[in-house]
Amino acid sequence: MAVNQAARQYGVQHGQFLAMARSLVPDLAAYPVTPEADAQALQKLAAWCRCFSPLVATDPPDGLWIDVTGCAHLFGGESAMLESVKTRLAAQGHGVRAALADTAGAAHALARFGLCDLTVVPSGGTDMALDPLPVAALRLDEEDESALTMLGIVRVSELRAVPRAGLTRRFGRTVLRRLDQALGQQKEALCFEQPETVLSVKRHLVEPIGTAESIAQVISVLCADMAALLQKKGLGARRVDLLCHRVDDLIQAVRVGTAEPVDDAGRLSRLLQEKIETIDPGFGIEAMNLQVDHAQPRLPATEASVLSPVSALQEKEALVVLAERLRNKPGLQAIYHLAATDSPFPEEAQMSSLTPVASGAALPRGARWPRPTRLFAPPRAIGAPLLGEDETPRGFVWQGHMMRVIGADGPERLHGAWWQHPAQAGAIRDYWIVETEAGDRFWLFRRGDGQHLWSGDGAWFVHGLF
């Protein structure tokens, strides 16, 4: 009999007979054991836990393994990740004990027999952490466990001290295998749950492959298969995972995303082939699996005539395809279109957007005023310029040189966007375009209207060149 926290408070204990428990708590709610339903619930929980890492394996009857290699930093470190696992599962009503260790066996042991609810074993400290635990922590049969106890071997440290040959003779290989798996001396293959994907195609290779050309070849074959599947279902892929199973049991994964539902084999394989350099084939890849993680119904495209020349629509599509390819390419920092905002100050007058934004209707207010093509960011501060009697700049110092102004246009007064930034309430800038003797045109501005302190401190800046 298993009990929950509330029942435990009434003195009901794990493994008690139901009749005894009933005598303690007459209105005890008891449910028959349903191993299938439990297993299903565990599966569901495993699927949910994929928010922590894509590799989740079940450890029946009551455990989950999560391979967090390379994921912990996303949660702010390993202990922070465990905290987050615990709190998120607690929000769902699960009480958990968790351990993070180098090997699955050690994590299993420490999660069940560790001192605290959450244990993080530093890399390489597995032996130390396992030593004080009872041998039961090593996933042994009851028979072996009791036999070991009869021999006086109670802790893992004692088991490690016993000569291996004798142990094997007496208990067979199981005990030592479990010990080695926990200590990381023997590899343990976990059966990771496959996420429920929309579509998946897989090719097993006769010979392990390792060259870029052969990987590209397999990718194109897989993409052709996948495209046929997608077209049959009327779907387009939005996110595609390529899993390369290596001969040494490791999986190399590549993920690409698309800008729109794609069912074109060529386009998919181009996207994936860009990523080949990120795949480490090791001793060779023996199977490759292409999965569509996220698919959307695709609008039927009007088939253009094969012989027609490249149209404007195709050109627009070419830009979308190129942007998609570049976004999936490693090493590029940002890919965006420029879009106008309604901020009056020039440095905030634009933002980056994912899709091209039609101008025209949303023409910025100041569009009729000249604007430089490049701005200094941030604006370069200059000393207060000489002003004429009508407040026109007559000369200023720029990078140590005195600039004499032979013509000026302005001021163009801009008011801060108080509705967006409270700090800009009442802020005013006066912009001048001034031409120097050499013909250079500078874009100067004064922070403030020059009279009232609330509008700005009156400092001058060069914001750009025309």
Binding site: G70, A259, Q333, A340, F376, G407
Partner: protein, 297 residues
């Protein structure tokens, strides 16, 4: 379908040799004298270098405007590659989106593809310093423009990669160091193959190395004619420029001085402001007619 596209491409490449249509071979600059001297304009499928002069040497506002004006006369996508200013690039994770280090199956449930989070990259548009208002004032439709930010060390490689893409009109790259001979040859080969035009803007102060770019331009300042209204010196039109063709294949260096005509989209609407004055219309027109060099057509 793919075969037909390939066939069409190769036919186009063959036709290009016997092409007499200037628009397919050259990018017109819009300045008649310049186009005449270059026998039609800037050659398509080649790489052209631009540099600023004087105070504009690093900012390169004038070359940018010139390139935008030239590209405004074309159709099709334009890619502008810029170096990332800040080295740490704290948002690289969210923008690279799908790049995972090899050997690790990582990561969080992604937001929809490549959500190059508008919020996070917004502050960095400033450092890239290309302004939407200026570009669209020069006539280039921002819908055609795709900006790419990349680490300075990978800039030329990215440019070559995009030059190899068909259906792109032009690629512009802001360089922070001189272009080496090898790199320029690679760029040229890539551009020639796809007939995508490459523009290189030198935004640095280093001396330029000899390279195999088709032309090298220096765009500098030119004084505009003085214009006095009342007791005040005002600016007449949007500024002129001096245009030097420092180097070109199979030709001598050339020099022009360009004045800008009164252009409704870029100049102050002085005439409108003075509309109550009967002289306003006439004055505006007479001021247009004082070009010292030649006029934007």
């Amino acid at each position: 379908m793919a075969d037909m596209a390939m066939l069409r491409d190769s036919i186009m490449q063959i036709e290009r040799r016997y092409q007499h249509d200037f628009a397919a071979l050259y990018l017109q600059t819009g300045m008649i004298a310049v186009d005449d001297a270059l026998k039609g304009g800037l050659r398509r499928g080649a790489v052209h270098e631009f540099m600023g002069e004087g105070h504009d040497r690093v900012l390169c506002a004038r070359p940018t405007r010139l390139i935008a004006q030239i590209l405004a006369r074309t159709t099709g996508p334009v890619i502008w590659i810029m170096p990332v200013e800040d080295k740490e690039a704290p948002h690289s994770e969210s923008i690279a989106g799908f790049h995972k280090p090899a050997g690790r199956m990582a990561a969080h449930e992604n937001a929809p593809h490549g959500l190059a989070s508008v919020e996070s990259s917004r502050d960095r548009v400033g450092s890239a310093a290309l302004t939407l208002a200026g570009i669209s004032a020069a006539g280039l439709d921002p819908q055609r423009l795709l900006c790419v930010e990349v680490d300075p060390s990978r800039l030329v490689g990215t440019m070559e990669d995009i030059l190899r893409t068909r259906n792109v009109t032009a690629v512009v790259a802001d360089l922070t160091e001189p272009l080496s001979l090898t790199a320029s040859r690679r760029l040229h080969l890539a551009a020639e193959k796809t007939s995508v035009t490459g523009f290189v803007v030198h935004r640095h102060r280093h001396p330029l190395l000899p390279n195999s770019c088709w032309t090298r331009w220096q765009v500098g300042a030119a004084c505009s004619a003085p214009c006095r209204v009342g007791g005040r010196d005002v600016l007449s039109f949007s500024g002129g420029m001096s245009l030097s063709l420092l180097r070109r294949r199979g030709g001598d260096p050339l020099f022009w001085r360009v004045d800008t005509d009164h252009d409704a989209s870029t100049a102050f609407p002085v005439a409108a402001a003075l509309a109550h004055d009967t002289l306003a219309q006439g004055a505006s027109r007479s001021r247009c007619g004082t070009p010292a060099g030649l006029i934007w057509s």
